[in-house]
């Protein structure tokens, strides 16, 4: 079961929803996630493993993939942006479920007639970042590993 916010071009989907099924449901409303290729996995697993195939956030800085989320530990209502302390999505995206598990999420969707329709890329992609998110979880630095371990013991 998905919930569409047509006006804001957001979809609310359960973490257990399969990405391919979500894309089929969106297509009925001429909408798309604009993920290429669509991986054979659930929404939660896809986000927790690094959102492979999503449009690069470097290419269009005004456009973010996740607007709101409900996890096993906390919930964030959908908003285009917020400045309310540390971004808790840093404990979710690409983290393999180490800290929390995704129950549901508000994802950005695109009108099929406008997907990829930015006249020119809004920004230049920094070297080593392609137009699509392609890396799986990358190696963390020692500093990051140590800090993540410290966070884990306190969650």
């Amino acid at each position: 079961m998905i919930q569409l916010d047509h006006e804001s071009l957001l979809v609310h989907a359960r973490g257990s929803e399969r990405l391919a099924d979500l894309e089929i449901a969106l297509a009925k409303d001429s909408l798309t996630l604009d993920v290429d290729p669509i991986p054979d996995t659930t929404v939660a697993a896809w986000l927790e493993s690094g959102a492979e195939g999503a449009r690069s956030a470097w290419l269009d800085p005004a456009d973010h993939l996740v607007a709101g989320i409900t996890t096993s530990e906390f919930s964030m209502r959908p908003a285009p942006r917020r400045a309310v302390g540390p971004d808790l999505l840093s404990l979710v995206l690409g983290m393999g479920g180490r800290f929390v598990h995704i129950e549901s999420v508000w994802l950005r969707v695109h009108r099929k007639d406008a997907a990829g329709n930015i006249l020119r890329p809004a920004a230049e992609t920094p070297p080593s970042f392609g137009p699509r998110r392609s890396e799986r979880i990358v190696d963390m630095t020692d500093d990051e590993r140590r800090l993540y371990d410290a966070i884990k013991t306190r969650v």
């Binding site: 530990e73 906390f74 942006r81 917020r82």
Partner: protein, 498 residues
Amino acid sequence: MEELRDFPNSTLLSSDPADLAFYSRDLWPRHHMAVRSGNVATHAPKAVVWPRSTEEVARVVRWAAERRVALVPFGAGSGVCAGVLPTPQTLVVDLKRLSAIREIDKAKKTVTVEAGAMGLPFEETLEREGLTLGHFPSSILCSTVGGWVAARSAGQASGRYGKIEDMVLALECVTGTGEIVRLVHRPYGPSLVPAIIGSEGTLAIVTAAQLRLHRAPTVRGFASWSMPSMREGWETMREMFQSGLRPAVLRLYDPFDSVLARSGKARKRSGHRKPGRGTAALRVILKRPQAIGDLLDSRAANVALGGALVVAIFDGQDEGVWSEVARARAIAERTGKYEGEGPARKWLAHRYSVSYRQSPLFAQGLFVDTMEVAATWSRLEALYDGVRRAIGKRAFVMAHMSHAYPDGCCIYFSFAGVAAPGKQDWDAECEARYDAIWRDALAAAVEAGGTIAHHHGVGRSKASRLGDELGRGGLEMQHALKRAFDPHGILNPGALQP
């Protein structure tokens, strides 16, 4: 504090009363009210230190951690939410001597800059290289790179370049144990950079940032439109962003704010200004803010004031800019009337002026403040109406939409008030009125499903509502981060705490 005097000569420590007075506050308007009522420097710190290197910052933090001394990182002090509020036991760490541009990599279009670099000189240095960060907060004259990161800042060209969180490639920071760490940003994780951005100095002291750059625009397109109402105005903005257009600047002003935007001038006067007839008239207006607000909401007033105003600026390097302007015109002129390039050009020429209109009003016994909130497009009208109603009971309020995205928009409310009838200056009653405005406005934002802060942060002034935004679980996650980065709780204690 004697031990700090043993630090190398390059570290400057001061407990001079003049320094302590200067570092006792940021630009939270409630502080201005306190100063106006004679309470100067009521939050003076114990001392101020100006480290000149990341290693010196780390040594200060280690010293403080051993002694459990609270530290308040300080950039240029332009925050407006009481992120800086020292106590007599606090050491303020001013980072402005850590201001070097360590490296500009023109090929990779990156810059590594220290946290204390002031905004405008930094951007001007980049522009001399044909580059831009693309970050132009209205505070650019009085804010630092570290402050931008700490508050999760937004610049006026966010439509094309994003907010500061979209610009940071890596951060160098000192944690609450004095450890120097380098964190790398990976947009879909794992990355702790988003945890530091917006943490307001409570997790770590940011000492340097690697930021992405862009070629400075060589072609710039301007356009503006008057709109029958705010609703048509933000529908135009929504359609532009959802159709794939990315104007660097896209702003919508309500009819009254449009009058100021169209006039677009900051008066050049120096010295103390005595209240004149204009101020007297404003005082009369501000005694009945709700009635004036209702009057201005009327159709006749809307027409008389010229309607709402949308200004747009498109940046680029080639003729593609003109096709974007043409597409924007096709969208906007379904409901709006083209007003030419003039208002947008005027806006650009005076883009930093408006913030400096506040001081004369404070000097004349009025109070002025701003509130930036955001919501998805589907909740925008409820947010706009709800917050305006809440503020409008006690103050005169106007609004503009300052940052748009495909899924929503930021509303920037400006409001002005006055002490009770007959009062000419600040007192407890005036402060109570100010506090009530904020209490009701934040409640209305939460009620409407909006976020309580888009780019000013939370500090202490909005902290009471943080639980409504994040829930108990979210607050606990923030506390877990705090304990991991700052186990002794010495970094800016009190900020971000409900």
